[in-house]
Symmetry: C2
């Protein structure tokens, strides 16, 4: 779809720890909850003439953890389009990468798609393409990638931090560079709204490497979040220029 | 949580074919889209003094199929609480059943929980209970079950029509009676809003039976939807009494 001039960008992060480096870099204001009683939190500010909002999924009222995963992400995207009406929605976050497709810890991908789901298996003919998706939602991502010296990639999303054989079959078929837990859900909402969306994903762990994902994820979350915030700030300054 | 007096019930269905028998029985009015451009559709009417709305997930703009699954269901639940503010949210639909736990084709379960996810695997200690859930959202379901001669049950949700080994391990551990694709997502939203929610689920296929789920699902969808609409109408007349 044609991207309109960008005067207002909204960044959607899953985890507070992923978002805090950027919130601090840009000195954004804490606006509280985006849509009480839902847990999503909202921060806003500017980068030159560009209005910038950050939304994080927030903390689950019962379990006290960040509301990661595709269901809260879908709701957050809907709330962003309904309430904030950005010119561009950016899903920023960390992800698993793949050595066999050039992945490394801290590497940052910027992409307008395709965004797939690898954990929606619906073997009824008309539902299969819906289940897997494959949404592409920006025509500008390639130019931004070139200017910023980042890489484009395919993102595949599911609600599990691990990867079982069914997930792996789809991730291989999609040739995904980044495995995350939110992007496809946000992409589906963006597609319903016919609004542009990109993802910026920093690699915390190598899914096809030798270390268990959850150990690498915890070890590298802060490093990857710093790389992420640096890349996102460069993108925002490019958009604001 | 304490249920308030019920003057307004909203029924949330995933598929139009599941909802149509009830919409016709109750002669509900088609109110169009609940929150354009999102695909969810809205119907309303009354059963005696009880206001009754039906929301269905609607048709995907790109793929043309009903928007089944947890991401559209989560958004629909958020829209229902935000826009319709019911006293009771009822997720009505079809589900897979289990012979080993007394399931049979056309059997109807009515339950206030627990509602689990069987396809969110997050092996980081604080996230595991959040990922699986186990929400219970009504104190009245047991009494309604007795009055209506239905059965209570545990519902487990995931985004796949099939069941792999990881799903099965969790479904066994939860001792689920019904395997569906929406209830837990709706339950999570209801929990954030601290609002009561129940599910009414009619069995289309026996997951531990001899026939493939997708074949049984297609063969039994209309039979189960008729049983579902009959049970839901009896419930609504009880609530209206």
């Amino acid at each position: 779809m044609p991207d309109t001039p960008i005067r207002h960008a909204v960044l959607l992060f899953a985890m507070q720890d992923e978002a805090l480096p950027l919130i601090r870099r840009l000195e954004l204001d804490d606006k509280g909850h985006l849509a009480p009683p839902m847990p999503m939190r909202w921060f806003d500010g500017r980068v030159a003439d560009l209005r910038v909002d950050v939304v994080v999924l927030g903390s689950d009222r019962r379990f006290g953890v960040d509301c990661i995963g595709t269901q809260p992400a879908a709701i957050a995207a809907q709330l962003v389009f309904d309430k904030l009406k950005p010119d561009l929605l950016i899903n920023a976050g960390t992800a698993g990468g793949f050595i066999q497709r050039g992945g490394s810890i801290g590497k940052v991908y910027l992409t307008g798609g395709p965004f797939y789901f690898h954990d929606r298996r619906i073997p009824l003919a008309p539902f299969e393409p819906y289940a897997e998706g494959g949404w592409t939602l920006s025509n500008n991502a390639a130019a931004w990638v070139d200017t910023l010296g980042l890489e484009q990639g395919v993102v595949s999303s599911g609600n599990s931090l691990d990867m079982n054989a069914d997930d792996a079959e789809r991730i291989e078929r999609f040739a995904a560079h980044a495995k995350d837990m939110e992007a496809a859900a946000i992409a589906w909402v963006a597609d319903q709204h016919q609004q542009p969306m990109i993802a910026v994903k920093a690699i915390t762990d190598l899914v096809d490497g030798e270390h268990p994902t959850h150990e690498e994820f915890e070890r590298n979350l802060h490093t990857a979040s710093d790389a992420l915030s640096e890349a996102v700030e460069r993108l925002l300054r490019l958009l604001a220029a």
